[in-house]
Amino acid sequence: MKRPIALSREELAAQRHLALNRRQFLRGLGACVALPMFESALRPVARAAAAGAAPGALGVTPSGAPLRMAFVYFPNGAHQAHWWPTGEGTNFKLGRTMQPLAGMRDSFQILGGLDHKNATAGNDGAGDHARANATFLTGARARKTDSTDIEVGISVDQVAAQKIGHLTRFSSLELSCDAVRKAGRCDSGYSCAYQYNLSWASPTTPMAPEPNPRLVFERLFGAGARGERQANFKQRQDTQRSLLDFVMEDARSLQRQLGRADREKLDEYLTGVRGIEKRIQRAESFGAVPDPKVETPAGVPSNYGEHMDIMYELLAMAFETDSTRVATLLLAHDGDNRAFPQIGIAEGHHYCSHHRNNEELMNKIADIDLYYMKHFAKFLAKLEEKKDVDGRSILHNSMIVYGCGNSDGNRHTHHNLPIVLAGAGGGTLTPGRFTKVDSRPMSDLFLSMTDRMGVQGLERFGDSSGRLKGV
C-alpha cells in the first residue's frame, strides 16, 4: 500500500481511527459467543503462600491456600418430605432431592435446625418471601416499607469482604439469575430491594447483583477476545483513573451546595468512587489479570438451566483464579413464579409451592427442588475437579452455603431451614454428615464461618446467640 511520505499528525490519527474501528468490530463479534464448557486450564494466581499459615489467618486455609465462602440462594423453600435425609451424623440416607449429591457424600454436610426468626411475621404481617430473602444473609429484620427507608442489616458476605477483600482483585462478587424484574409492587408492602438482593454492604445499601454472564466475565477478566483482555483491562483502568479524579472533585463541589438528603445520595456516590479507586489500586498490586482460555460468554441465556450453569461456572472461575474469595448467587428471588417447561412443569414455582397438600403439586415442587439441586451438584463437582495451590480441590478449600430463607414454602415457615454446607473449609469443617442442632439461629453458622475466614472481633451478627460448634 502506498502512502504519502510524511504523514501529519492528523493523518496518523485518521489511520489509527480506521484501524481502531476495525478492531472494535471484531471485538464486538467475539463478545457474542455462547460459553462452551470451560476446560480446567486456568492457573490459580493465589497470592497466599502454599507453605502454611497461622491458624485463623485472614482468608486462608491452615495450609495457606485461599479460603473461599459462597452463598447460593434457591427460592420458595424446599419440599420437606424429600429434602431431609433420614438418619443422623455420618450414618444418613439422602432424600430424593439430594440424590444428585450422592456421589460426593464426603464433600458436604446437611444442616438441620437452623432458624431465621427475623424472617417470621412478628408484628409485620404478610411478606414472608421478602423477609426470607432479606434476612437470609443478614439475620436481621427488614423494615417493612415500600418506600424510601429500606433497612435490614449488613450481610455476612460483606462482613467478610470488608475484612478480607483487600487480598483479592475483587472484594466480593454478587451474582443473580433474575434478569427480568416484575413491574410495580413486590411482596406485601416490602420494597423490591429486599427480594432482589442478598448482599447488603450496610443496613441500607443493597449490593445489586449482576445477572448478565458476559458482564460478569468482562468485569473479572477484561473485555474482548482471548489475548486482548489484559490490555483492554489495563487501558480501561488507566482511563478510569483519570476520570475518577475529576468526578470525585465534582461530587464534592456539588455536595457543598446540597441539602442533607441529597448530600446522602452524593455520599453513596463518593463511597462508590472511593471503592473503585481502591479496587484499581489493589488490582495493580496483583499484576496481570488472568486470561481464561475460553470465549467470553454471551448475554443472558433464555434457558434458565443454562443461565444457572454459566453463573456457577463464572463463580468457579472467580474462585479458581483467586479473583475473589467471597460471593453470593441469588438463583431466583423468593416468591419467584417462573414455570419449568424444561422438566414439564407448566405452573409457576411459587404457585406450586403453595401445594395445599395436593399430591400433584407436591410432586412438582419436589421436581423443581431436584432440578435446582442437579445444577448445584454440577457446580460442586466442578469445584471438586479444580486443583488449588496446595494440591487440594477448590471445593475442599471452600465453604459453600446452599439454602433458602423459607423452609416449608407451603406454610411460610422460617425454622429448620433447608441448608447444605459444602466444602471442608480447608479442613476446618467436617463434611459427610447430617448435622442436626436444636433450633439455633442461622446467624450462629455465619459467625462460625467468619471466624474461619479470619474475621476478628466479631462478637455478634444479626440475631446470633453464639458460635455454631461442630460443623
Binding site: 404481617g125 409492587r185 408492602g189
Partner: protein, 849 residues
C-alpha cells in the same frame, strides 16, 4: 403512600415525616409554612370531630373496643392524638372511600352524612395536618439517579447513539410502585464502575477522534447481485455473475479492499471453480477454489478513479470436479494474511446465528462468500471528509492550531456540551477543570483535540451532575421555606416526566431566559405531541397497569386455552412474544388515545372501543376485524370488551400460569383502580385448602372455596372486598379469552362492591365503577400519576394537592388534560421545600429504631 396502605401497618414514614416537622419547627423560624397541626386543632377536634366519631365509629373503635388496634377514645393527650397522622390518613381514606363504617344490611340510612364527612375531612386536612391550601407544603424530592430507561434515552438525545443500558446495567429497584423513585435508586460501587465503563464506551462510539478522515464505504456480500445470486453465498457448482456499483464524485486515488471467504462442508466435496474479480471490466484476480474447511482471501488495489460509476464484479466459473483431497490448499493467498482474529470472529458469528449446532450430516458443498468490499477514498488529504457526528459536538469544525485559540475552542465546545449533559449551565470553575482534563490529553503526543474533548465528555458522563437529577430552587425565593424550583429544574421535571429523557434545546432555552413557567401549557402540549411522549405512555402504563409484565408472565397457553389454542404460522401455540407484545400495544394505544383525544379518564374503565387487529379480535371474540394493523375498533353494543380491565394485558398479569386468580384480579382493581387496597394478609392465615373439608370429598370450584374462606372472620374483611371484583372477571380466562364455564360449571359473575353497589357481570361492574366510584378512580389515578411525576412516595401533606386535582377532574368530566395539567401545575411538582427541612430527619429516624 396514600394509595396502597390504608391500614396502619406502614406508619414509619409518617412518623419520620412528623418528627421531621417537629425538628424543622424547632430549628427554622421560617418553617411555619410547612405543614403541621394548627394550634386550634385539639379544640376543634373535641367540638366538631369527636361527636361524629362517637356516633359512627365507637362501636368498633371506642368504648374499650379496639378493632384493628384502632380506638378513638384512648389517646393519652391531645398531642398524641394529633401525632397520629397515619391513623387520620387511614380514617380519611376509609370514610371517603365508603369502607368505614362498614355497611350492614338494613342499616343504609345510618351512615355519616355528606356534611359530616366534609367536617371530618376538613378537620383532618386543615387542622390535624395543618395543610395550607393557599401555599401547600410541596415536600422535597431527593436527587434522583437516572434509572436505566432514562439513562438510555438521555444518551440517545445527548450523544446520538443507542446504548443498551438494560443489558449493561443491573435492574433498578422500584419504590411506591415505580422505578423512578429517587430514594430507592441507590448507587453502588459496582454500578459506578459500570457508569465509568459506559462513559468510555459511549464516547468511543459517538465522538469522532479526528477532525478529518478518509471516506470509507463497506459493502457486504448481500449487496452484490446478479441473476438471482448474491455474494452472500456462492457455490462452486453454480455459475454466477454478480456486481455492485460504487459512485464517486472526485477524481483521485481510491483503495479497494476485497475480502473473500471459501468454506467447505465438514466432509470432502469435489467441487472446483474459478472466482474471477473484475473492476470496471478489467480482470484483477482469479482465485482457484477447491474444497477446504475454511480459507480467507484478501486483495487490495489502489486505483485512480474518475468521477462517476465504478463497478466491482465477481464471476463464478464451475470447473470439472477434483478427485483427491486438496489438502495443499490451506492458509491464505492474496496480498495479506488471514487474521486469526477474523477467523475467530467469523466462527463466532456463525455459531451465534444458528444458536446451536445442527445435528445430522449436511450435504457436502464448496461455498464462497464475498465477506466485504471496502472502498476507501478519495485518499488525498484535501478530499478527506468530516467524520459523522463531528458537527454535533464540534460546531466550528476542526480546532485551530494556535494554542490559546484551541483552548478557547475547547471551552466553547465543553460549555455547550455540559449545558445539555447537566441540563443546566455549569459553573465556571468546574468548566475550567473540565477544560484541563481535555487539555491534559490533547497536549500529549499522538493525541488529537477530539480525543481530549472526548475524555472530558467521559468525565462529564460519569459526573454526578449527569447521573443525578440535582434540583435547585429559584434563587429569588431561596430564603423562603417553600420556593418554586428554578426553571432548569422544571425543564428536567417536565422532560423526565413526559419523555423519560433530558430536556430538549427549546426547553433549555426557555429555562435560560426564565420563560418556561410563562409558557408552561403550550410547552406541555408541544411535549405531548412529540413522539418522545411515547416513553411516558409506555413506562407509566407499564408500571401502573403492570403492562411490562405481560411479556414475561408465565402463562401456559396449552393448559389455559386447551385444544382450541390458536396456532401461529409455525404451528406453535400462539401467545408467544409477538402476541404478548400485541396485548401490551393494545393497552398502550388505548391509554394514548385517551391522552391524545383528551377523553375522560373514566374511559380507561369503560368504553365502546378498543385497539385490535385480526389476531387479537379473534382471541377476544370480536367479529369483523381484518388486517394486521392494530387500530381503533368500535365494539358491538353488547360487547364485554372496552376498558383496561377487559384487556389481555391486565387479565394475564393477574393470573397464575395455568388458571385465573380472582384474588389477584380483585386486588389489582382495589390497588390500581379504586385506590383502596386491603392490608396485606395477616400472618397465620388459614389455608384455602382448609375450606375444602367443608365439601366432604366433592371437588369444589375455586369460587366455592373462596366463599368458605370468606366466611372465616379473619379473612372476610378483605376478601369481601377483593373476591367479588375478581369473580366478576372469571368469564375471562388467564389469557383474557371469554368463557362461559369453568371446570364444566357455569360461571357466576354477579356480586356486590363492599360499598354496596350490585352488578350482574363484568359489563355492569365497569358501569358501576364509572357511575358510582368515579371519585375513587380519579383519586387513585391522580395518586399514581403524581407518584410517577415526582419520583417520590406521597405523604400526608400531599392530601390536599390530590383532592384539588380530583375536584378539577370532577368538574371537567374527568378530562385527561385536566389530570395531566393538574399534576404538572401542582405545588409538589412546581415547588420544593428549601434546604433546612431535610436537615436531621434521617438521623432522627435511624436513632429511633
Amino acid at each position: 403512600m396514600l394509595c396502597p396502605h390504608v391500614p396502619l401497618s406502614n406508619g414509619s414514614s409518617f412518623r419520620a415525616a412528623f418528627r421531621l416537622h417537629l425538628l424543622a419547627a424547632a430549628l427554622a423560624g421560617t418553617s411555619s409554612l410547612l405543614a403541621g397541626p394548627k394550634p386550634t386543632a385539639a379544640a376543634s377536634y373535641h367540638q366538631n370531630v369527636a361527636p361524629i366519631l362517637e356516633k359512627y365509629c365507637y362501636d368498633c373503635h371506642g368504648n374499650g373496643v379496639g378493632k384493628g388496634s384502632v380506638s378513638f377514645d384512648e389517646f393519652e393527650s391531645d398531642a398524641e392524638l394529633l401525632a397520629k397522622r397515619d391513623l387520620w390518613l387511614a380514617a380519611l381514606k376509609n370514610v371517603r372511600g365508603g369502607l368505614m363504617p362498614p355497611r350492614e344490611e338494613g342499616d343504609e340510612d345510618a351512615r355519616p352524612t355528606a356534611d359530616e364527612i366534609a367536617k371530618l375531612s376538613h378537620w383532618i386536612k386543615f387542622e390535624a395536618f395543618g395543610l395550607d391550601p393557599a401555599n401547600p407544603d410541596p415536600g422535597r424530592v431527593t436527587a434522583r439517579r437516572l434509572n436505566r430507561i432514562e439513562y438510555r434515552n438521555t444518551i440517545r438525545d445527548l450523544m446520538g447513539i443507542d446504548f443498551n443500558s438494560e443489558v449493561e446495567f443491573p435492574p433498578d429497584d422500584s419504590g411506591n410502585g415505580f422505578d423512578n423513585n429517587g430514594d430507592v435508586l441507590t448507587v453502588s460501587s459496582l454500578l459506578l464502575e459500570k457508569y465509568l465503563a459506559a462513559a468510555e464506551t459511549i464516547v468511543d462510539q459517538a465522538v469522532p477522534k479526528v477532525a478529518k478522515m478518509i471516506r470509507e464505504r463497506t459493502a457486504s456480500g448481500r449487496e452484490f447481485r446478479g441473476n438471482g445470486a448474491t455474494g452472500e453465498k456462492l457455490n462452486a457448482r453454480n455459475a454466477a455473475k454478480i456486481s455492485r456499483t460504487f459512485d464517486v464524485d472526485r477524481e483521485d486515488k481510491y483503495r479497494v479492499s476485497i475480502e473473500l471467504e471459501a468454506r467447505g462442508s465438514f466432509d470432502f466435496d469435489p467441487g472446483h471453480c474459478q472466482l474471477i474479480c473484475k473492476i470496471d471490466g478489467e480482470e484483477r484476480f482469479v482465485e482457484d477454489i477447491v474444497w477446504c474447511e475454511r480459507r480467507t482471501m484478501r486483495h487490495e488495489f489502489e486505483l485512480a478513479w474518475k468521477p462517476g460509476k465504478h463497478v466491482v464484479a465477481f464471476e463464478v466459473k464451475p470447473l470439472p470436479p477434483v478427485e483427491a483431497v486438496a489438502s495443499a490448499v490451506t492458509g491464505t493467498s492474496g496480498s495479506s494474511s488471514t487474521s486469526s482474529e477474523a477467523g475467530l470472529a467469523a466462527t463466532t458469528e456463525r455459531r451465534t446465528e444458528s444458536g446451536r449446532t445442527r445435528s445430522g450430516p449436511p450435504a457436502t458443498s464448496v461455498n464462497m462468500r464475498i465477506a466485504s468490499v471496502q472502498v476507501v477514498g478519495p485518499l488525498s488529504p484535501q478530499h478527506w471528509i468530516v467524520p459523522q457526528n463531528h458537527a454535533r459536538f464540534f460546531p466550528d469544525g476542526p480546532a485551530p492550531a494556535d494554542a490559546a485559540a484551541r483552548d478557547a475552542y475547547a471551552e466553547k465546545v465543553l460549555r455547550a456540551f455540559t449545558t445539555r449533559a447537566f441540563r443546566r449551565p455549569l459553573e465556571d470553575a468546574r468548566l475550567q477543570q473540565l477544560v484541563r482534563v481535555a487539555r491534559d490529553v490533547y497536549l500529549q503526543d499522538g493525541k488529537t483535540f477530539e480525543e481530549g474533548i472526548g475524555r472530558a465528555m467521559m468525565a462529564s458522563l460519569a459526573s454526578p451532575r449527569f447521573l443525578f437529577r440535582v434540583e435547585d430552587v429559584d434563587p429569588a425565593a431561596a430564603k423562603d421555606a417553600i420556593a418554586p424550583i428554578d426553571e432548569f429544574s422544571l425543564a428536567s421535571r417536565l422532560s423526565y416526566f413526559l419523555w423519560s429523557t433530558m430536556p430538549d434545546d427549546e426547553l433549555l432555552r426557555l429555562a435560560a431566559r426564565g420563560e418556561l413557567r410563562k409558557q408552561l401549557r403550550p410547552q406541555v402540549a408541544r411535549m405531548l405531541e412529540d413522539p418522545k411522549s411515547q416513553a411516558f405512555i409506555k413506562h407509566f402504563t407499564g408500571q401502573w397497569l403492570q403492562a411490562r409484565d405481560v411479556e414475561s408472565v408465565p402463562i401456559n397457553a396449552r393448559v389455559v386455552m386447551g385444544p382450541n389454542a390458536p396456532r401461529n404460522r409455525d404451528g406453535r401455540i400462539e401467545f408467544d412474544g409477538a402476541f404478548r407484545r400485541l396485548m401490551r400495544s393494545e393497552t398502550e394505544k388505548y391509554f394514548e388515545h385517551v391522552i391524545r383525544e383528551d377523553r375522560s379518564v373514566l374511559e380507561l374503565i369503560d368504553s365502546d372501543y378498543t385497539f385490535l387487529n385480526d389476531r387479537l379480535a379473534q382471541h377476544y371474540g370480536v367479529p369483523d376485524v381484518t388486517g394486521e394493523d392494530l387500530r381503533l375498533v368500535k365494539l358491538p353494543a353488547d360487547s364485554v370488551r372496552g376498558g383496561i380491565l377487559t384487556q389481555g394485558t391486565v387479565l394475564a398479569v393477574t393470573s397464575n400460569p395455568t388458571r385465573t386468580s380472582p384474588v389477584k384480579r380483585g386486588l389489582f382493581i382495589l390497588e390500581n383502580i379504586l385506590g383502596t387496597p386491603p392490608p396485606p394478609a395477616p400472618p397465620n392465615v388459614p389455608d384455602l385448602e382448609e375450606s375444602k373439608k367443608e365439601f366432604k370429598g366433592r371437588e369444589p370450584k375455586l369460587s366455592e372455596m373462596l366463599a368458605v374462606h370468606r366466611a372465616n372472620k379473619l379473612c372476610s374483611s378483605c376478601h369481601e372486598r377483593m373476591d367479588p371484583l375478581g369473580l366478576a372477571m372469571e368469564n375471562f380466562n388467564a389469557l383474557g379469552s371469554w368463557r362461559e364455564t369453568e371446570a364444566g360449571q357455569p360461571i357466576e359473575p354477579a356480586g356486590k362492591l363492599v360499598t354496596g353497589e350490585a352488578f350482574a357481570d363484568v359489563r355492569e361492574l365497569k358501569k358501576v365503577i364509572v357511575r358510582e366510584r368515579a371519585t375513587d378512580v380519579y383519586r387513585c389515578l391522580t395518586e399514581k400519576l403524581l407518584t410517577y411525576a415526582l419520583g417520590r412516595g406521597l405523604e400526608y401533606y400531599d392530601t390536599h394537592t390530590i383532592d384539588d386535582v380530583v375536584d378539577q377532574l370532577s368538574r371537567a368530566d374527568g378530562k385527561m388534560s385536566v389530570l395531566l395539567l393538574g399534576v404538572i401545575e401542582s405545588a409538589p411538582f412546581q415547588k420544593q421545600r428549601t434546604q433546612p427541612a431535610s436537615a436531621a430527619s434521617v438521623s432522627l429516624v435511624s436513632h429511633e429504631r
